[in-house]
Amino acid sequence: MNIASARQSASGASIRISRLEKRFGAVSAVDGVDIDIAAGEFIALLGPSGSGKTTILMSVAGFEFPTSGTIHVDSEDLTYVPSNRRNLGMVFQNYTLFPHMSILDNVAFPLKMRGLRTAERHARAEAALATVRLAGYGHRRPNELSGGQQQRVALARAIVYQPRVLLMDEPLSALDKNLREDMQLEIKRLHAELGITVIFVTHDQSEALTMADRIAVLRDGKIQQIGPARQLYERPANLFTAGFIGEMNFVDVRDESVGDDVAVALPWGETWRLPATAAVEPPAAGETAVLAVRPERLQLGASSPGHVITVTLSDIVYAGAALLLIGRLPDGTEMRARIPGASQLSSLAPGDVASFTIPADAMLLYRGKRR
């Protein structure tokens, strides 16, 4: 354990991104982003397209220079250093293996740029290929390999010169689903083995949730929330993250009083008292607010403790591990519930009115209105 952790702290670099801003004309692609990444950490930048996640990565890689702000790697200011002198590893979405070189020459390319002799760089490239389980593929051409194999070669090429940071720009989005899952494991394994710091850009939230130690959720060039997967999923910091990560039910409510607990008026006339901890963004009395509940937290029936809702079912979808029930609340708001152990529920049919219980700790309250 000690040896492993010592190696980890030795091989990854810490990264500090401070007040990063990038404007293209009047548009702010990145708008005051601060991220502190620990040595050896695996961090994912997650957001819809245009959220600025790629621009942040491009700034770290040195392909874009920021309008203002700084990027430090291990306290060295790299903000305006050209890419070729940053010594970072990078894997691109479309593999970017050079088609006119063999696999071995591709992997040896960064070593050639660093002035290593042919024999040594070939030996090291072979070793790197072995790390991604492609030993013996060196003499082939990139186009003779499958997409997954090409991306593994790209990975080998990015780590062969032992950079302390590995940047990945949607590296798995060109692969089909099964390959993608294999590659996720491969990347996780390499990260654990090498202790390298990873910045991973993706728009696929399940990829981010399963792979990263921490996830930064971005929208319009700003960080919405940064934290470990569990925190993001169980206690999203704002309405955007709540809606962006996973499935979420939203109900518009009005806040009536704030104190030891929060009283909210529901659209169909009931008033519920919620624990004060439910208010992620505490609204003022009289303000509109949004109540958020994950579909899998709803329990069928009115027997357990919590607040009870009645839902007129419109769709019942068999989804393997769980049954997805879709219906409407008395005021017409859509409500989804995922109920595991679907077999006993075969008696339900569209048009039925079902009761669900929402446990008190499953409710989250935000300021504003649902979109």
Partner: protein, 292 residues
């Protein structure tokens, strides 16, 4: 890339055209090629060995007469020079075109393509004005005090090379531009992040990948230059003929068709050999990573 599969025409709805319809669609093109290219060339080659009597005498005359071999060598030399100049001048333009965006890119493209729409004769005539004893170039040189006497520019080999390079440059630029455009931007970025300087990125990645464009541009320019007629005839010196001028002289002044045919035969052999060598030594498909 499919290489082994038989090429087929398809209906827009995906059904395959019958063999007969395919044949009918291709026939006009091959008919034209056969009648205006293959037939006359073969006819000339036949004349070159059968007239005035069946022998290789006409070819012997080409090889034995030092005047004729010199014309042949000069033609090859000028074509080589023009090709080399076109690569040197054309590559940067093509590279710039492939990177530029918006109005600037459109402007450069227009500058490259527009001359193609005016006739070679017009462009050659323009050069003869510039090269004249009291033309623009000489007046400028004298005004700058670089020379007191006007240079002899017109009717020199340099004039021919300069004007031919100008006329043929677009045929070099466009294939190189095409090759450069097909190189994804990420290749340059990948090379940079892997530690390559701009120069190394260019030498190790961009240049090798643009080579097919350079080769096809060179082939196009070289082969066209070999048979160039108007420019050398108008700007060159009669003492320094190129082969097409010699051929034309034999046909129109000396009326020695069999000998002209033999000259064409020699040229045809050169061109064919060159094309074969290029296609054998450079496996483009391999270079571009399309081998399957």
């Amino acid at each position: 890339m499919m290489k082994t599969g038989r090429s087929q025409f398809w209906h827009s709805d995906g059904r395959r055209l019958s063999g007969l319809s395919t044949l009918l669609l291709l026939l006009p093109f091959f008919a034209i090629i056969a009648f205006v290219f293959v037939y006359p060339i073969l006819q000339l080659l036949v004349i070159s060995v059968l007239e005035p009597h069946p022998s290789l005498d006409n070819y012997a005359r080409v090889v034995e007469n030092p005047v004729h071999t010199r014309v042949l060598m000069r033609t090859l030399w000028i074509a080589t020079l023009v090709t080399a100049l076109s690569v040197v001048l054309g590559f940067p333009v093509a590279y710039y075109m492939s990177r530029a965006k918006g109005t600037v890119a459109a402007l450069v493209a227009v500058c490259v393509i527009l001359p193609l729409w005016s006739s070679v004769l017009v462009r050659t005539a323009a050069w003869s004005f510039l090269f004249q004893r009291n033309g623009l170039i000489n007046s400028a040189l004298m005004a700058l005090g670089l020379t007191s006497e006007p240079f002899k520019l017109l009717y020199t080999q340099s004039a021919v090379v300069i004007a031919m390079t100008h006329v043929l440059l677009p045929f070099m630029i466009l294939p190189i531009y095409g090759a450069l455009r097909s190189i994804p931007n990420d290749y340059g970025r990948a090379a940079a992040v892997l530690g390559a300087t701009r120069l190394r990125t260019f030498l190790e990645v961009i240049l090798p990948l643009s080579l097919p464009g350079v080769v096809s541009g060179s082939l196009l320019v070289f082969l066209t230059a070999l048979g160039f007629f108007i420019t050398p005839a108008l700007l060159g010196s009669p003492q320094e003929m190129m082969i097409s001028t010699l051929v034309s002289k034999q046909i129109r002044e000396v009326l020695d068709w069999p000998f002209a045919a033999a000259l064409v035969g020699v040229l045809t052999v050169f061109v064919t050999l060159l094309a074969i060598i290029f296609s054998k030594t450079l496996r483009f498909d391999r270079l571009m990573g399309n081998a399957s």
